[in-house]
Symmetry: C2
Subunit: 404 residues, 2 copies
């Protein structure tokens, strides 16, 4: 008799953003005239840049002629895209990554959640708290989490690394040595970036204990401080202990186009086995590539016009971030992030719980944010706003918040 | 210390089509002037139909304006596509499937390989022999296969259901009751279709023993015999025991666009748990949707023009299939399939092994096919040709084969 994967029974409630979406739908059903300002889910709002649109139109046309039609893509992704990525994201920063160390995919969410498959079931996983829920939930599904402790709001077999005001939201090394360490900088949800020195310390730590760092750099394009690392491979030795995830969603607005990539150096080995070869096998067996049209869109991100256009988009979002941060501070809020990331991490006022503040903002101000506690117990009492709205909406949101 | 998923060490060689691709690359490197005819991998060759191109151009333009831009897609896929699928694939055939029982994805390969995640590790898996390697390899990676028996060329913990000339390539019920049963009809690689009566017997069997049938219907568009089932949900009770996988790759040439869907009835429950809810959770947590542009392309497949255009494409491929089958028979080959599927399954001549015949065809005739043994021990002595070439190439392939 077929039976289910009982690890799923350990999952807590719905995926955070599904719960937020449900609450929003319910509010909209009851308040059809309300004009909601959505600063919750990290979705972009600016349209795809013209250079990228042109590339997609051209690729669509290619798909319509037999001599330029493209069927199944190469397993790792098209070489034109992998070469553009290597040149622009790595070699320009002096990082030695080869095109065949790039695995093109439909996005960092898929890769971040699938990567755990190639590691042993008994690997001990460390995550930040608060944390992007996908790292945790994918390991719950895989059976690495143990039972959920209702009181502590934590899984018994995961290592949580508190990211709090007192440590500046940069985790300390855990007391027990983990095998797999998820790090995300600039961070979602706190919006805090890590210095190269601190990241190097994590790489040194991982090398010392034989751990692998799963490094989510989806927000690197928002780094404004030139001294901060865009890639973990800027750190010495990272090629022997780290896997990096990148996304086109946040730098070029590809949330609805779906494109990302994972970088694994061929030097990364565990017990003599190539982790690169394992992921290549997984990628080739369980996935069939990102659409040709979308890979051409990704290539256009690196064209001179595309690059200029997406930089202008990022500047717009960061103008929002700066405005939100300054205005909230002026209004008496304690605010983090928003300088090298599109996320504002604010302390809820009057000791409100994160979900109470969510409900308050939704029902009294028509603003959708994301409750910090949805990212973990140390997110309780915090709230995430994104800079992905329009400037006008960001301004209006502040007016509404001031009027609470 | 991080350790690998050792189940990967049980994987045998490379994924079949990667090996074929490597041999082809090597041949081309050594024979730069040879004009290869590729009838191996099941990739299409006709360009995307005009109605679908138009839909994509329109969708690209929508992505370029703020008021029509689409970011993250709804978890299950856009309703416009799910509704079109339900209307055209199910309700027109009198099948009661709801739009929220459709999960839109980037293709059947991803879904077929990911679906096993929601079932218990100890579920006993039955596959046909020969079989599309993805069903096997995804279960090897998940640890359900046991060790590979080098002598038998089979995994010790999988149930293999022989599909041979003597049973007309339709498997008999296995001697030991499986928990998960992978079936694919019209079949890849044999090209053989199943009757409604035989499929109903499989549904009845699954209901009796409490198994779940994982039904890959990627090739249903090639069915020419009106009495044959296009969907397992044409069988009574299938909603309680079956999951169906569908693809836009073969009916509409989307191999390079990437779109498919999985159908799970909300009536399918195991130990009282909704399998639909589990897959919804998996889909929402570890995947972020097919691109908006591609979902619009899928919708256009069901427009009157789109439908007419893809039917013409299918007719072209089936003309190839019929030609190949007839010509090979005339040349003295024993040939199966090719009537309700785009695959020709032929017996190798003179008792050649499948790979020897592959090498012979590649080196002496410049034709790429797929060795039957790559699909399992009962594929030994067989060879798969696809009808996805052009008619001219199919004709030339036959001339070359005759000249061997």
């Amino acid at each position: 008799m077929a039976t289910i994967n009982e690890n799923y029974l350990n999952l807590q409630g719905s995926y955070l953003f599904q719960t937020v979406a449900r609450k929003v739908r319910e509010f909209e059903a009851g308040n059809p005239d309300a004009r909601l300002i959505k600063l919750g889910i990290g979705d972009v709002t600016q349209p795809i840049a013209p250079a990228i649109l042109n590339a997609m139109h051209k690729a669509v046309d290619e798909m319509g002629a037999a001599n330029t039609f493209h069927g199944y893509a190469p397993d790792l992704g098209y070489e034109f895209l992998r070469t553009a990525i290597v040149e622009n994201e790595y070699r320009k920063r002096g990082i030695d990554i080869e095109p065949d160390e790039i695995f093109v995919s439909d996005g960092a969410k898929s890769d971040c959640s699938n990567i755990q498959e190639i590691f042993d079931q008994n690997n001990l996983v460390a995550v930040c708290d608060p944390v992007y829920p996908v790292y945790v939930d994918s390991n719950v599904m895989a059976g690495r989490s143990g039972a959920f402790n209702e009181e502590k709001k934590l899984y018994s077999n995961l290592i949580y690394m508190p990211c709090t005001e007192s440590n500046g939201f940069i985790p300390d090394f855990p007391k027990i040595n983990p095998d797999l360490i998820y790090l995300c900088f600039p961070n979602n949800p706190t919006g805090v970036a890590i210095t190269k020195e601190r990241l190097q310390a994590w790489v040194d730590y991982a090398l010392k204990i034989g751990a692998v760092i799963l490094y989510d750099a989806a927000y690197e394009a928002y780094i404004s401080d030139d001294t901060l690392p865009h890639s973990i491979f800027e750190c010495s030795g990272a090629e022997y202990c780290a896997i990096e995830f990148r996304s086109f969603s946040k730098n070029a607005g590809f949330t609805g186009l779906r494109l990302g990539f994972t970088v694994i150096s061929k030097k990364l080995k565990l017990s003599g086995k190539s982790v690169h070869a394992m992921w290549a096998r997984r990628h080739g067996t369980k996935y069939n590539g990102a659409p040709y049209i979308i890979q051409r869109a990704g290539e256009a991100v690196y064209s001179p016009e595309g690059n200029q256009q997406i930089n202008a988009q990022i500047a717009t979002y960061m103008k929002n971030a700066q405005f939100l941060k300054t205005a909230l501070k002026d209004a008496g809020y304690t605010v983090y992030g928003g300088e090298n990331a599109p996320y504002i991490w604010l302390k809820t006022p009057n000791g409100l719980s994160s979900w109470d503040f969510f409900d308050l903002l939704l029902n009294k101000a028509g603003i959708v944010g994301t409750p910090g506690s949805g990212f973990g117990p140390n997110g309780e009492g915090f709230f995430r706003l994104t800079a992905f709205g329009t400037y006008e909406n960001s301004v209006e949101a502040i007016e509404r918040i001031k009027g609470l």
